[in-house]
């Protein structure tokens, strides 16, 4: 069993299909919706955590792709210019998901993208504007 997070972008006419239901029933994937934005008739975006066998997750992703859902690993949608970071800690103050942490011994920023819940608070909290997150 593995656990991975994906950002799913739905086309305008996909709102009537119970795609996540099929992920659970047909591919035996445990899903956890961490963030959702749905604009009926326009678009929809989901941050979905999938837990299952690697093969099932891969098959589930193929199923979504066949239904014109753009499906990308979360890490690919997060851009962080780590080389410019001054380790001030401002982003860690807002990251309640625990993806951004700073502490002993070296007090340098650690970023575990797999824990990100795309709250996007770090985007504005960083005084150097080093974060970009593409959810839509």
């Amino acid at each position: 069993m593995i656990k991975r997070r994906f950002i799913l972008n739905f086309p305008p006419d996909s709102g009537d299909k119970p795609l996540s239901y099929h992920l659970v029933r047909d591919y035996d994937i445990r899903i956890n919706i961490l963030k959702a934005e749905v604009f009926p008739g326009k678009r929809g975006s989901l941050l979905l955590e999938m837990q299952g066998t690697a093969a099932n997750i891969e098959a589930g992703i193929s199923y979504l792709t066949r239904h014109e859902v753009v499906c990308e690993p979360l890490e690919k949608r997060i851009r962080f210019q780590h080389e410019k970071c001054i380790n001030c800690g401002n982003c860690t103050a807002v990251c309640f998901a625990g993806a951004l942490t700073i502490g002993p011994p070296d007090w340098e920023l650690q970023f575990d993208k797999s824990l990100c819940v795309v709250c996007e608070l770090c985007v504005t909290a960083c005084p150097l504007k080093l974060f970009e997150i593409n959810f839509q």
Binding site: C88, F96, I102, T124
Partner: protein, 387 residues
């Protein structure tokens, strides 16, 4: 009893024989050595900080053109600079900005210049007999101007408050983004490494003290604005809230972008991260005791930035702040720094190395700071006009 003079310490520095420790190293040493032993063995202790210091800026002399202009309105990349200093002198403050572009401020102009970038200078004058020109638009760099030096009126606060927010609304402050309902707490001081906490009564830091400023050698030139020696102190003589400050000067042309960084705080404005290091001579056992101060002995006040008048909600130590959580109003609150301890440590180490190599001598202040100072508030002499 050990008593050392500045001259003796400098002789050792020049000979490459000075024993130099960072403030963190000496605090560790103090767990097993007495102040007397530390005074015996250690000559200089290096302190440092790297935080956003809003009261910072640069004085620039642009040089004269032919025909000359008396600059009476000045913009650098669209950011307004002070126009009341003769014809071609100016001051660009870190927090200055064009209200239409609040994310790019004076701090960013300073950083761009420091990085060697070209900046657009536009200035206007009314035209006088001796300065006939009325307008100029040109490009400058740090090398094209005559002088550009940082002159920061209030830096390196001796201690600073912890910020929390008890309201139900997320707020944006210079202490970072404060989540609602006490969901986080931010703090900005480098604790036991912080310069003014290692010499709380200013026995060695005063006017003329040579310091590390932004990667170059700079100087303390005056007590900083809002210099306050009357704040309540704890049993270790440490003020438990923001107290004294220093005004500093240094040549921006010699500084490094590694230790000066522009910042934009959401819905607040721009500021400048300034890297600063101050060497403290261990003149005697009393100074040894001062520089040995530890995070568990330095306390600061927790203030509610969400409520009018920022009421105090508690008092915590830097050891507690660094542990990741503090207790406020009986609730566990997650802490985060908003100043870089990693950078401060880098500066303290660099300064230590410079002193060990004989490249940085310590200075006896030419004048000590005033004592028994306190702050005045701004009173309103005109009542609010009723509509």
């Amino acid at each position: 009893m050990t008593i050392k003079t500045y001259e003796e310490i400098n002789r050792k520095i020049k000979a490459g024989e000075a024993v130099v420790l960072t403030a963190e190293e000496v605090s560790e040493m103090a767990r097993s050595c007495s102040p007397e032993e530390i005074a015996e063995r250690v000559d200089v202790v290096t302190t440092a900080t790297f935080g956003a210091m809003c009261s910072s800026g640069a004085i620039i002399n642009f040089g004269h053109t032919t025909p000359p202009i008396r600059m009476e309105k000045i913009r650098l990349n669209g950011v307004p600079c002070y126009e009341g200093l003769a014809a071609v002198d100016s001051y660009i403050g870190a927090t200055a900005c064009d209200p239409e572009k609040p994310e790019y401020g004076g701090a960013h102009v300073i950083q761009d210049l420091l990085e060697g970038k070209e900046i657009e200078l536009e200035a206007w004058g009314k035209g006088t007999d001796c300065y006939p020109r009325k307008h100029i638009k040109t490009r400058i760099t740090k090398d094209s101007v005559n002088e550009i030096f940082l002159f920061n009126p209030r830096n390196a606060y001796q201690n600073y408050n912890v910020a929390v927010n008890t309201t139900a609304r997320l707020i944006h402050t210079y202490m970072g983004t404060l989540l609602p309902n006490l969901r986080n707490a931010t703090y900005s001081t480098a604790g036991e490494l912080s310069p003014l906490l290692n010499d709380p009564e200013f026995r060695t830091i005063g006017i003329g003290t040579r310091i590390f400023l932004g990667g170059a050698q700079g100087f303390v030139v005056w007590p900083g604005t809002q210099f306050n020696t009357s704040k309540p102190k704890n049993e270790f003589g440490i003020p438990v809230s923001n107290a004294a400050t220093i005004a500093v000067i240094g040549n921006l042309k010699e500084m490094s972008p590694e230790f000066i960084q522009a910042a934009y705080f959401e819905k607040y404005g721009t500021s400048l991260f300034v890297g600063m290091g101050i060497p403290i001579p261990v003149l005697d056992a009393d100074m040894a005791r001062r520089v040995s101060i530890r995070n568990d002995q330095i306390e600061t006040s927790v203030l509610d930035y969400g409520s009018p008048g920022t009421p105090k909600l508690g008092q915590v130590t830097y050891e507690q702040l660094r542990s990741g959580t503090i207790k406020v109003n009986g609730k566990k609150v997650r802490t985060a720094p908003v100043a870089s301890l990693a950078k401060a440590r880098q500066i303290a180490s660099l300064l230590k190395k410079s002193i060990q190599e004989g490249a940085f001598e310590i200075t006896c202040p030419v004048q000590m700071f005033p004592q028994h100072t306190s702050l005045k508030s701004l009173t309103e002499t005109e009542g609010e006009k009723q509509p």
